[in-house]
Symmetry: C2
Subunit: 351 residues, 2 copies
Amino acid sequence: MGLPSKTGRTYASVGVDRGAVAVGLRALLEEARYRAPSTSGRPLPLPGHFAGLLRIGTLTVALTTDTIGTKGLLAQELDRWEEVGEDVVAINVNDLAAVGARPAALVDTISMPKSDPAILAALGRGIRQGLEKAECSLVGGETALVPELVNGVDLGATALGFFPPGRRPITGRSIRVGDSILGIPSSGVHANGLTLARRIAAGSPGGYAGTRRGGSRPLGEELLTPTRCYVRAVEAIAANPAVHGLAHISGGGVRNLTRLKAGLSFQLDAWPRPSGIFRFLSREGKVASQEMYQTFNMGIGFVVVCQPSHSTEVSARLAKAGYPDVLRVGRVGPGHGVQLPELGLSYEGYG
Amino acid sequence: MGLPSKTGRTYASVGVDRGAVAVGLRALLEEARYRAPSTSGRPLPLPGHFAGLLRIGTLTVALTTDTIGTKGLLAQELDRWEEVGEDVVAINVNDLAAVGARPAALVDTISMPKSDPAILAALGRGIRQGLEKAECSLVGGETALVPELVNGVDLGATALGFFPPGRRPITGRSIRVGDSILGIPSSGVHANGLTLARRIAAGSPGGYAGTRRGGSRPLGEELLTPTRCYVRAVEAIAANPAVHGLAHISGGGVRNLTRLKAGLSFQLDAWPRPSGIFRFLSREGKVASQEMYQTFNMGIGFVVVCQPSHSTEVSARLAKAGYPDVLRVGRVGPGHGVQLPELGLSYEGYG
C-alpha cells in the first residue's frame, strides 16, 4: 500500500472529528432518556447498533435514519443528482439489512435553498433506482426550502423494516470465536468520508475532471458512484441460523464491526488490499492507513459473520443472489476490537 | 383585525414559495414512483395526507417526517435549544395523530457545523419533553457534522405510529356536509412560518428582546415556544366512529384541511379572531390576512371534524384529556376548499 500507518492527514483535520461526535451524542442520549409505557410498543435494547428495533404486538420492526452528508456538495459541484438519490435509499436500507430486517417503507427529507424541479426530478429518479433494488416503498417525505440554513442539498431519509414470520433479528449476539468473516465488495467510497475525499480529489492535479491512474472515469464521477445495495444479500441468508452477525461498513469504516459484539476480536487477516479509488485517496491525500480504515469502507461495503462450517454454503447463496464477488476477509478471535494484522492496525470501539 | 386581505408581505417574498415547493415535489414524486412487491408490506393510498400508511401482516403503521426548518436559526440567535428539541418531536407525532395513529418510535436527524455537547444536551432535554408528552420512544438518530453544508442546526425527525387493535386510520373519507369542525388552540406559531416571523420580529423596534403590546415575554422567546402536543387529544377520541377527520394545522395553515377530503368545503365561520403573536405579526409585518392564514396556524393547532350530534361528547372527552380549551370553529359545507367568510378568505387546495 505504501500508506503511512499512523501519521498523515486525518478526518478531524478537515473538520470531521469522530470523537467529538461521540461526546456530543452521549450528551444528547443521556438527556433524552425516557421509557414509554408498553402500550406504545416495546423497544428492544440494541444500543449503538445499525437500527432501532421495536416490538408492536406480534411484529418486530426496525427503524434507521441517515443522510448523505457532504456527498450532496459533490453532486452540486458536478450538477448530477441521480446518484445521491439512489444513495439516500441504499445507506438506509443497508442499515436495516445489517440487523436482518426486510425494508418496507422509506421517507425522504430534503433541505435545500430553493425549489429546483430539475434537481428534485433527478433525485426522484435516483430514489426510484434505490427503491427498486431494495423492493421498498416511498410513503412520504419532507422538502424544506431553507436558504438561510443550508448551502446545498441536505438529503436524508428514514427507512422502516420488519421481520417476516420466522425471521429473527440478527444482532451479532451469537457470534463466537472461530466464526468466519465474509465481505461483499463496495461500489466505491459509498456515502462516507466525502468531506475528505472531495478535498483530496478537488486538490489533485486534474481536479474532479481528472482521471486517477488506472481509473476509467473522471474522479468526481467515480466518487459519486451510488452505494451498493446489500438488501438482496441479506434476504438470501437471513433465515439461516448459521449467520451470526451482519455489518454495514459505513462511517467509521472497519470500526463498524465493533457494533456487533464486545468481548471478542475481529481479525481482518484477509481483507483485500485496497485498490482503485482507495489507493488513490491514501496516496494523493497522504492519509495514514489507520485513518483510511476508520473513514472509508476500503473496498468492502458489507460484512457477514457466520459459523465457519457454513461459510461455503452462505457464500454460494450470496453468489446466487447477485453477489458472486463475496470473499473471506477474516475470522473472529479472542480479545477485543478490530485488527488488521498485516498492516499493524488496531481499533478499540466504534466511537 | 385590521389586516389587509390580499396585499402586503407574502411568504414568497422572504424566499419561501409554497407553489414552487409543490412543483418541485411533484417532479420528485413522479420520478420516484415505484410499486414494491407485497412481500415488502402494502402501502395504503393516502396521497398528500399527514402520514404514510403501510400494512405489514395484520398491523397498520404510519410514518411521518418533518424538520423544524428555520426555527433552528431562532434557537441559534437566542442560544436556547430545549424548545426546538421538543418541537421536533411534537411536529412529527402531531402528524401521526392527524391520521389517528398512536406514536411508538422516533428517530432524530441533526446536521450541524460542529459538535457542541451543550447544544446537543439541551436538544436531548427538549426531545425527552416531547417524548413524554407523546409517550413515544427514541430508538435511534443520526448526527452529521457538515460545516460546509449547514449554517446552523438542521433538525428533523421521523416518527413511527401504529393502530392499536380495533382502531382504524382516520383519513377524512367519512367527512360529510354538516359535520362540525372543532379546533384546539395552538401554543403560538409552533414550527411554521418562522422565516417570515423571525424577519418581522427581528426588524421590529425592540427586536427579539422587545415585548409586543400585550405580551409578557420577549418576542424571541415567545416565538420559540414549543409546539403543543395533540397526541393525548387523539388518543381520547380516536376510537369514536363519529370522529371523521383530523388535521394538524402546520405549514400551509388552514389549507391543511383540504388534505382531508375533496368535494366539500370547510367553512371556518367561527375561527377565533387572531390575537397575541398573530395579531402582532400581521400588523408589524404588514402581512395580508390571505397570507397569514396559509402561513401560520392562526391560533388553532389541531382540528377535529366530527358528526354534529357527537360534538358535545367529543369536546367533553377532549376537555377531560387535557384540552379544555377546544372550541367549535366551523362546519363542513358543500362546494370545495376552505373559506373564512367573515374575512372574505378562500383557499382552493393545499399546494
